[in-house]
């Protein structure tokens, strides 16, 4: 095998931050290393047994196999990188499962440990694989669990365990069962923590983007109003004055026109700078290199721009990278540094790399929550590494957009995925009551499982006339009752106490059940992982550690009890084939329970993260669209009118001595044109940030909107003191959006009512309803306007609902927390 056939291209940069061998990949590397240590311990134990106890050649073969496993694990660890995660997981699963199968063939009792081992690749894979890849992996895990259980029960094995002292077997079982249970719990925790950290990072980034966007709108609005609009307004009066001068004092008129031309040139330059800051037309026209160089020329410090192999990239990518560079260029310059270096490089695969080094202190602390490079680059599918401190450096990479590979999966993979979908569907059917709450649905399914299992054991006791029937019945009933209680607690939003009650009761009953029927040790360790999985979404890290320790203690006790308890004679009276069947079925069933729980938790969490990501992307796209529109409006509107006016003023200058009448008439036209330009600028500024909102508050701003509305619109406001500016603006735009929706769809005779109600603790509810034609809720979809509302409300941490019925109007309600 070629030693380095997967080398990255030479041009790809070395990652400046953590060396790759130290990146943990959400616990994957730690797991590989622990797996390696466990395999090495196994080698040592096997060697010791061979040397001191059993002189069997089979042991030598097994030992060599485990050494090969050690080597494979070491290789996987050495070569793990972000491009090989999927590959590593697939190999790990293959290694794990073949080792598991080999183990149960040689020593069938190893099923106690192996049942857990089979689970681990799936649990490790959760944060790394997408749904399409997880499905076959989960299905294959189930199949492997069934095969391994069957292999363990339906063939006699080598008889090796009879040769080894029982105390050693028990010790090894306790050690490995505890270790692997702990690994599974930690894998689930890392997966949860990884995805929820991603979700909250996206949420925070979305909030920063919205806040910054709103700040910018307000700044642009202020600059337009206080700058261009006012100056143009006075230029109109100036032209009128000049027109009078043309007839009264023609000598003075020439000078006045000179000054006017000068004034218009200044306003034009001001508008040009403003428009360029809003959206740099040069970026769209001439690309990233030209645009960044252009921005660098206006910087307050020396900026060196180096560009290599740069092509053209999608507009959103170019804009994001450009903004990153401009953010850095606008930072206050570092008094000691030598300025800023911006490097832009096209990758041979069509990706883009940029690096910004030196410059000002890009400190993470900031009063106005500054936008980070990751906020800019994340939504366009890139990643950024930032080094703070002296000589700050930003390194970003954006991969080319490649079409996702179509499903070229083989029949085995498709079959495994189909198996998994069936299981996941069954879970959804069982727990359809509360699909949103993973912990609650887990409790419901667990109760169903315990009820069936308890009924089975009780029936068995009745059939075999076991004297311990009373205890079995009591334990089963107590567990079901405890689970019912915990479900009630969970339904009253007291999920954590509910889950802890279930955890405690299940631990007790699983230990008791193992003591009564020791053969259940083959699958009870799998079962005992479930309660801690249920608790994961509800716990902080220290709490989770406590739960893990408690569960591991239970696992140790459970394993010891299973190994040492003689049982109460239930399994002895049970026909052997039925006992085998019980184990062969129960191992995959318990595995399915654990996997389903992990799946549900993963799916709901990652869907939330994906929804947040989409929302952030929509907000970015909408912001970009709007900036482009404003820039266009300024460019085609005010800037052009201004230029035309300046040109015609020069014509007036020329006409003045020869045809003063015509000059005066032209001045009149000019005043009208400028007046129109001032009006347009005012409208543009109003669309950006309604001045009435700042000057008169939310209620008055909405009343003004209602007065302009083509539909009869009422506004009612109760108990709303001045909300925070971003809340006021968000609610204003949501109500506006709702009203526009009604104007578009409700019909001419509809009336609209807008209601704002403040809650006691500072929360704010808005409600826009119309009496129009309404629509079928199924057709409602998420149109442009509705997803705008959803994104805006979401960015403020609120919630939003739409009710629609044919003939009964549409009602949009949103709630924003304090």
């Amino acid at each position: 095998m070629a030693r380095r056939h997967h080398r990255r291209p030479m041009t790809a940069p070395a990652r400046p931050a953590t060396p790759p061998e130290q990146v943990d990949f959400l616990g994957l590397r730690a797991y590989l290393r622990m797996n390696l240590v466990a395999a090495m311990v196994a080698v040592a134990v096997l060697v010791a047994i061979r040397v001191f106890m059993v002189a069997s050649d089979l042991l030598v073969v097994v030992c060599l196999l485990v050494v090969a496993l050690c080597y494979a694990l070491w290789r996987l660890d050495r070569r793990l990188s972000d491009r090989r995660v999927i590959h590593t997981i697939a190999l790990l699963a293959a290694l794990n499962w073949s080792a598991a199968l080999a183990a149960v063939f040689i020593v069938p009792f190893a099923l106690i440990i192996v049942g857990l081992v089979v689970l681990t690749p799936a649990m490790l894979a959760l944060p790394h694989l997408d749904r399409a890849r997880l499905e076959p992996l989960f299905g294959a895990t189930l199949v492997t669990a069934a095969v391994v259980a069957a292999a363990a029960r339906l063939q006699p094995g080598s008889g090796l365990e009879q040769l080894v002292p029982a105390w050693l077997v028990t010790g090894l079982v306790v050690l490995f069962v505890t270790l692997i249970s702990g690994l599974i719990m930690f894998a689930a925790w890392r997966s949860h923590a990884g995805i929820s950290a991603r979700a909250s990072a996206i949420r925070e980034s979305r909030e920063r983007l919205v806040a910054a966007g709103e700040r910018e709108r307000r700044e642009i609005e202020r600059e337009l109003r206080d700058g261009a609009e006012r100056r143009l307004g006075s230029a109109v009066a100036w032209i009128e004055r000049t027109r009078r001068l043309v007839t009264d004092a023609p000598g003075e008129a020439t000078g006045s026109i000179d000054d006017l031309i000068e004034e218009l040139a200044q306003v034009g330059a001001e508008l040009r700078t403003l428009a360029h800051g809003i959206y740099p037309a040069i970026l769209a026209d001439r690309g990233l290199d030209a645009a960044v160089r252009h921005a660098a020329r206006g910087a307050g410090m020396p900026v060196a721009v180096q560009a290599h192999d740069l092509g053209r990239y999608p507009p959103e990518v170019e804009l994001a990278v450009y903004r990153c560079c401009v953010d850095a260029i606008r930072e206050p310059p570092d008094p000691t540094g030598d300025g800023l270096t911006v490097r832009l490089r096209g990758r041979p695969d069509g990706g883009l790399v940029f690096e910004i080094a030196g410059g000002g202190p890009s400190a993470p602390a900031g009063a106005a929550r500054p936008i980070t490079p990751a906020d800019r680059i994340g939504p366009v599918g890139g990643h950024v590494l930032v080094r703070h401190g002296p000589g700050p450096r930003v390194h970003g990479e954006i991969d080319p957009i490649t079409p996702t590979r179509p499903g070229t999966r083989g029949p085995a993979s498709r079959a495994a995925a189909a198996i998994w979908r069936t299981v996941a569907g069954a879970w959804s059917g069982l727990a359809s009551e509360a699909p949103a709450e993973v912990s609650l649905s887990g409790l419901l399914v667990l109760r169903g499982f315990v009820t069936v299992a308890g009924a089975f054991v009780v029936t068995t006791c009745l059939v075999v006339r076991n004297p311990w029937l009373g205890l079995v019945l009591a334990v089963s009933a107590a567990t079901v009752l405890a689970l019912t209680w915990s479900i009630r607690l969970a339904r009253r939003r007291r999920l954590l106490p509910g889950v802890l009650v279930a955890d405690a009761m299940c631990s007790v009953s699983v230990v008791l059940a193992t003591a009564l029927v020791p053969v259940t040790l083959y699958y009870h360790p799998i079962l005992s992982v479930i309660p801690s999985l249920l608790a994961i979404p509800l716990l902080s890290r220290p709490q989770f550690l406590g739960v893990v320790v408690a569960n591991l203690v239970v696992t140790v006790v459970l394993t010891l009890v299973g190994r040492l308890s003689p049982g109460v004679g239930i399994q002895q009276r049970f026909p052997a084939p039925l006992l085998d069947l019980d184990i062969v079925l129960s191992v995959p069933i318990c595995t399915a329970l654990v996997l389903s729980l992990a799946w549900r938790a993963h799916v709901s969490l990652s869907e939330r993260a994906t929804a947040l990501q989409w929302s952030r992307e929509r907000l970015i796209a909408a912001g970009d669209r709007e900036r482009r529109r404003i820039e266009r409006d300024l460019h085609d509107g005010a800037q052009q009118s201004l230029a035309a006016c300046a040109v015609r003023l020069r014509v007036v200058q020329r006409l003045l001595p020869v045809r003063p009448g015509q000059a005066a008439a032209m001045l009149g036209e000019l005043a009208d044109e400028l007046r129109q330009a001032v009006r347009e600028l005012g409208e543009l500024a109003h669309g950006l940030y309604p001045a009435a909102l700042i000057e008169h508050g939310l209620e008055e701003a909405l009343r003004r909107v209602a007065r302009r509305s083509p539909l009869a619109t009422s506004v009612a406001v109760h108990n709303v003191p001045r909300p925070r500016p971003e809340v006021a603006l968000g609610v204003y735009f949501c109500c506006l959006e709702g009203l526009q929706n009604a104007v578009k769809h409700a019909g001419e005779n509809a009336t609209v009512s807008m209601r704002l109600v403040g809650g006691p603790d500072g929360e704010l509810t808005f409600d826009v309803s119309d009496t129009g034609v309404g629509c079928d809720p199924a057709l409602l979809g998420r149109g442009h306007g509705l997803s705008n509302i959803e994104d805006r409300v979401g960015a403020l941490g609120g919630s939003f609902t739409v009710h629609a019925e044919p003939g009964a109007g549409v009602r949009i309600r949103g709630r924003i927390g304090p």
């Binding site: 218009l264 040139a265 034009g268 040009r272 037309a281 040069i282 026209d285 001439r286 030209a290 252009h294 020329r297 460019h635 085609d636 800037q639 052009q640 009118s641 201004l642 230029a643 035309a644 006016c645 300046a646 040109v647 015609r648 003023l649 020069r650 014509v651 200058q653 020329r654 006409l655 032209m666 044109e673």
Partner: protein, 126 residues
């Protein structure tokens, strides 16, 4: 300079077409030959009508002013092209000057700049 300079104004905004038209009307020795709303229209116009000077806006829908100017210089090398834009000269590609295309900021345009640019273009050409 006996002959009148025939001028074509190309801009998608009517307000600027009118302003430029007024400039041509008052400038000495210039006459407005026609107006066009896009680069494509301008090229068509030039195929039919002889023109000495084209006043071309940079940002227009369609092929845009830069592309249209380059094509005019290719097809009609005798025609002088003056680009007009509200953007700054440094936002335009550098190769325009090499191709003999002059630039004037829109707000600085007027009868004097028109006459000066024409003089520069015609005395520069042999």
């Amino acid at each position: 300079m006996s002959r009148t300079v025939r001028v074509l104004v190309v801009d998608d905004l009517v307000s600027f077409q009118r302003a430029a038209g007024a400039v041509v009307a008052v400038a000495d020795g210039f006459a407005l030959e026609g107006t066009a709303g896009s680069g494509e229209e301008a090229l068509e116009f030039l195929d039919r009508t002889a023109v000495d000077l084209v006043l071309m806006d940079v940002s227009m829908p369609g092929m845009g002013g830069v592309e249209a100017s380059l094509r005019i210089r290719d097809r009609h090398p005798q025609v002088v092209v003056l680009l007009l834009s509200v953007n700054r000269a440094d936002e335009l590609p550098g190769r325009l000057r090499e191709r003999g295309i002059a630039f004037c900021a829109k707000e600085a345009f007027g009868p004097e700049p028109l006459e000066a640019q024409w003089r520069a273009a015609t005395t520069g050409d042999p």
